[in-house]
Symmetry: C2
Subunit: 459 residues, 2 copies
């Protein structure tokens, strides 16, 4: 929802080139809110407003703009000015942003960025997407082991403008090996003893992650420990960066979205739904639909092999979609339960006997209950078969639903076991597998039961 | 995964009543890690270890235990001791915990808790689950408007042990109305001017939430602004509490799980999969399966009304599951896309014309592509119908898939419009609706096309 409240005013100030007024607007509210009010402006107008603010404020607001808007500003704005944005931006955010803009723009901008920042960009760019390294910021409050509490507080006051968080200060030795952590909170409690050595009061047993670790595991760790930030180290335990709580929130949201897409049988999108080009969406959906279609051709082949029975007992076909959908739904439920529990860490691979026992029990119970309901429905709603013949439906449902819950429960575990993402075993895939099994079960029950029923008469 | 590394050692120390050794264990590492190492112990053993630690450390570790373990300790431990845990615990966490233990235990414990904490528990308990009030802590660093920077830092150093976060300090007037916010970071930058009034440098334009606001909306707001905490106010703008970043992370994880369950057609669980009693799981799954089964009885009735055609052209039945599953899968994809985008706020209700246009386009394109693949499959894999008759399948698929994408895209929007949670329109429901539509479309195409084809021969 675009907030249009201040748009006329902003446009008027832009038209009158009222720099003081625009600067006031930028200073008056939280940068996130200022960014919100500018959503309705064009990229050019937004840049016009931002130029009125002082450089730090400009960057604060810029960082809250939509990424697409940020890209547009970099690609259309004056490089001499926009390169300053890059210089001041948070190290992790600017690397993400530069990955989105045209190569030409990057080539124009980078030479205008001071050497130190340029090196930092190059260093961070080398970590692949989805690793701790790609998520971290190199802007860390770090101090040597020798400082005292008083010196640390003074140094912190000096550094406060430079770092994303100053509430955790990392203590490193001369070779930048991570030695310990002291929180601003601990420093405050030792305010009375400014000559105390930080090394004597710091935490030494730190939870760290490596730059090559998977971002999802890192996020889970920060969330479990309620940390504000977690230090990232390399193989030799050098401090290379930190990942802050707000980046963890972004990862958790992103991963939740990806899992939702996978569960729906769509390859995850990089952009929002409306910003993703139609042809990309078509591809991300079509691939899976085509695979699922190929799988469901097996149902055609299976049914074809029972064609005589379908021709003789025509009511068998009436129940086909019902049986297939019951199996798919119960299997999908099991898959959802197991995938969600595996993702959250509530369930481990070695719990598999308990999972299978639970799913077996549930399959039998749910199958019996659904079978009973379906039988009542068939008794009153379907003409043709006798009441005894209609027993085919509930008996089939017990088998199909049980098969559904066991397959749905087991497949994600098997996928995890062989090292694949269990989320790949999404509902449509489980349903696809159960479709074909369900049809074979149904036809088999029909063959057995309807023959049995027919025998006494023919015999 | 239970970490068994230190279990033998801990048990030995317990057996020998080695209080010093156990206290060392509790102090040696991050409380979260100590809690992890104790996962393999019984509740009684865990409590034995914790008793060796000093009260603050004891609570820090206790807060990282599984909630079930916490409940067990409260219900079996000595009330004189466990009531001290309650007294020191974070206000929001202890209220959540007390909601889980037996009423008898609560009645025994509460009288042993000091009056002030007991009142706080009563106050927080009144907010319903899922509101900002139920999520907040009342433990807030607050200072009057009149303080100077120097006084604020001194006061903060004194308060540091009492509050969950001291990095945001809230400034209130004499009636506890929220007036402003100063961060520990801002205080540090003004370290050189200790006589400056805090009121002159604090932020006044604050983003706040009300205690009755929905927790999901609150979490989204904190995440959007990258806040460490957000103040919670009542209708008269009195400061009643704060919600901290770690609670926001918990909400985001919880909501993601709930959405995943809903998408799979399961009522969300309060416990983990393995801890949920079977009968609860049966109920949470069975209700939706029964509703879906009732819906799929419509497919039985629909097919029954086309029984003559099914008897005459027997290959029609072969494609039933394939067509139904194609429609369900493409509709499920659309529903997933729209629900996820609505949840994340990327999509608004008034985007509906663009959504429908996109889904129409995609439905036609995907339907044509899938139809082409299915036609090739039918040409080579199915005997009986002529190549022209087999055109029924691709033509049906274009209609069914388009119908699927439009229904899947529109239903969540309609649900949002009439004030219901769009996530209720989960994949199985969309599939259920498309099952019946798909069958009617298929039968109609058959009636039209196969009659057309038959006419020239019979005429």
């Amino acid at each position: 929802m675009i907030n249009t409240l201040l748009l006329p005013e902003l446009r008027e100030m832009l038209a009158e080139n009222d720099v003081a007024g625009l600067a006031d607007f930028c200073e008056a509210m939280h940068p996130a809110r200022a960014a919100e009010f500018m959503e309705g402006l064009t990229a050019e107008e937004t840049w016009g407003v931002l130029k009125a603010a002082d450089p730090d404020r400009r960057v604060s607001i810029f960082e809250y703009l939509d990424q697409q808007r940020q890209v547009d500003i970099l690609e259309t704005g004056d490089p001499a000015e926009t390169s300053k944005l890059i210089t001041i931006m948070a190290p992790d955010d600017r690397v993400d942003l530069l990955k989105q803009v045209e190569d030409d723009t990057v080539e124009t901008l980078l030479p205008l960025v001071p050497t130190e920042e340029r090196r930092d960009i190059a260093r961070l760019s080398q970590y692949p997407e989805g690793t701790a390294g790609s998520l971290m910021t190199t802007s860390v409050a770090r101090l040597p082991e020798s400082v005292t509490v008083g010196e640390a507080i003074d140094e912190l006051a000096r550094q406060t403008k430079n770092h994303e968080t100053i509430y955790y200060i990392y203590i490193v030795d001369d070779d930048n090996h991570l030695r310990g952590l002291i929180s601003a909170r601990q420093l405050l409690t030792h305010l009375g003893t400014p000559d105390e050595r930080v090394a004597d009061i710091m935490e030494r047993d730190l939870v760290t992650v490596e730059a090559t670790d998977d971002q999802e595991a890192v996020a889970a760790r920060v969330a479990d420990y309620n940390f504000l930030a977690i230090p990232v180290v390399d193989h030799e335990h050098h401090l290379v960066g930190i990942i802050t709580h707000d980046d963890v929130i972004d990862v958790l949201r992103e991963e939740a979205e990806e899992d939702a897409y996978r569960a729906g049988g769509i390859a995850p999108l990089e952009e929002t739904y409306l910003n993703t080009p139609i042809h990309t969406l078509l591809w991300k959906r079509g691939v899976w639909l085509a695979i699922l279609l190929a799988a469901s051709f097996l149902t055609v082949i299976a049914l074809q092999s029972f064609d005589e029975m379908l021709a003789v007992v025509k009511w068998i076909a009436f129940f086909l979609p019902l049986i297939v959908s019951c199996g798919g739904n119960s299997g999908g439920q099991s898959a959802t339960l197991i995938i969600t529990s595996l993702t959250s860490g509530d369930l481990q691979l070695n719990d598999w006997p308990r999972v299978l026992l639970r799913e077996l029990t549930m399959g039998l119970a749910l199958g019996t209950a659904l079978g009973a309901i379906a039988y009542c429905g068939a008794l009153f709603g379907v003409e043709g078969p006798t009441a005894v013949e209609k027993l085919v439906v509930p008996i089939t449902l017990v088998f199909v639903v049980t098969c559904g819950t066991i397959v749905g429960g087991a497949l994600p575990l098997i996928f995890r076991r062989i090292g694949l993402d269990p989320a790949l075993m999404s509902n449509p895939f489980v349903a696809g597998i159960i479709d074909i099994t369900g049809i074979v079960i149904y036809m088999t029950v029909c063959v057995l039961m309807l023959k049995q029923l027919a025998d006494p008469f023919s015999g």
